[in-house]
Subunit: 303 residues, 2 copies
């Protein structure tokens, strides 16, 4: 296959209590990429979006991921990659993961699937390292596997997509900048044992809630006692969005990845729409530009 | 109903990585209790085993649990309780939880089920406080609910039994004393964030492994990077039992609760029997008295 076109989903890491471990994919927004195999060695990247991302492969997350892919392949295959991003960089919606994972997934399809999921995750993580300073896996895993994912280990990369019920997802992206690297800096290196136990109690219950389609258990488990109290301070309107969304009937939610976007789960579309209205009213009042999405859990794998 | 007889299962808390949160019930060993409603107010406890436990209700975990039950009931109902323990106190196999939960479960049946599971867990936790200094829930929850349990919250008590596949369980109880209160003392009050993340990654994967009957995932997730490294030092032969059990084909396992018992999961009875032989050989060589059990996950609730 000489040309591959793919839609790459936005993803939301952590799912409130599962820092660095849980994540999920959504049906919107998504990036669009076209990858062509070329007789000319090397990687050429062209962005058709307006985000001004670097097109030098050594500085571009998709480029770095493809370089890792090519290195392990051991050939001098050339790639022309056209990327149209709809997932805004720095939104907390897995924009860099989409670029990284999209590129290697498309390359893998184009070359007849030489690599398994674990290796594809590894390549994409090399791109994530360029974007966030850490080769984290909690966006690339749901981007590739779909649904709700649990990371079992990062070395070697090992993640699974677990059963999950239908979920409506309302997202608000206040148009402020919170860099993942900054958001990681404010995290303490030690946590009180008591908080850690509360956290893995919620993680265990949340995973059980997804696996058994128990909405009530999902709702009760969406609490983060370690990161949200500090990270949420970087996001204007966070507390109000959360309180009003829950009052409007959302199951729960919180910061999307490192923020500044926030997400809320609901069981019904009507609830998700009420939640969107509450989110809009908060940022209208604060005078902060924002964008909202109503979408659903994307359950299918990328490849 | 004037008289209730119950078999109360042994339970194993933590399941390696889920400290204070996960637990499971087994079919053997079990305690046997007989509870009779009496016209004479007060609680009278008689032990037919040889463990020399206190029979004063204020000092006995079953007695304290029943007192909490009676207090909330608001009547002066009297109980005669006969306990025959097969679960040795201080074994790490939920002996105190069996006494506590057994007594209140029997009382609830005898009186026509005035209380729900959450309240019964609360009463039994009052008994656990007498035994271990902490009102922990990770033995009483599987004792009552059966199967593999996840604690969602302790106040109010809220736990669920999650789906789980058939599992063989081999247990060895080296006849040394490790008090739960001592075993808790050596735990640090702060944990490195990195270890906490590894722990909740394993907890998430283990719960997903149980819920989806994925033995490989269960096996990969049975690791404890926080407590086992220190707690296992209190148990002679721990490292050897673990290594030889895994080599014999066990899925994984570790310390039962606060120890000194250890457990290993296997998929097949033959493997569980090979694991038992390895455990026996370790303690024969060390010259430590021991007792072994081969049993299975008890999937039914107590009431």
């Amino acid at each position: 296959m000489k040309e591959v076109q793919l839609r790459i989903p936005a993803t939301i890491a952590n799912i409130v209590c599962g820092f660095d471990v849980l994540g999920f994919a959504v049906n919107e927004p998504y990036d669009e990429i076209t990858l062509r195999i070329s007789d000319r060695p090397g990687i050429r990247i062209h962005h058709t979006d307006g985000y001004g991302l670097p097109e030098d492969p050594a500085l571009n997350v998709a480029g770095v991921s493809l370089q890792a892919f090519i290195k392990e392949l051991g050939t001098d295959t050339g790639f022309d990659l056209e990327i149209h991003k709809n997932i805004k960089p720095g939104s907390g919606l897995g924009s860099s993961a989409a670029s990284a994972m999209g590129a290697v997934a498309a390359a893998n399809i184009a070359l007849g699937n030489p690599f398994n999921h674990s290796r594809l995750l590894y390549f994409a993580m090399q791109g994530e390292k360029v974007a966030g300073g850490v080769a984290h896996m909690d966006n690339v895993a749901p981007c590739l596997l779909g649904g709700v994912t649990v990371i079992q280990s990062t070395d070697p990369p090992d993640a699974i997509s677990i059963p999950a019920p239908e979920l409506q997802v309302t997202i608000v992206h206040p148009q402020i900048e919170v860099k993942t690297s900054d958001s990681r800096k404010i995290i303490k290196k030690e946590v009180p044992l008591k908080s850690a136990i509360t956290q893995w109690s919620n993680v265990a219950s949340l995973v059980a809630g997804f696996c058994t389609s128990n909405y009530q258990l999902i709702s009760k488990s969406l609490h983060d006692v370690i990161f949200e109290p500090t990270r949420s301070m970087l996001i204007p309107g966070f507390a109000e969005v959360k309180a009003k969304s829950l009052a409007a009937g959302a199951l729960g939610g919180g910061i999307a990845g490192a923020g500044p976007s926030m997400f809320m789960f609901s069981t019904e579309l009507e609830t998700a729409q009420r939640v969107e209205k509450e989110m809009q009213s908060v940022y209208e009042k604060l005078g902060v530009e924002y964008k909202t999405y109503i979408t659903t859990l994307k359950k299918t794998p990328l490849i």
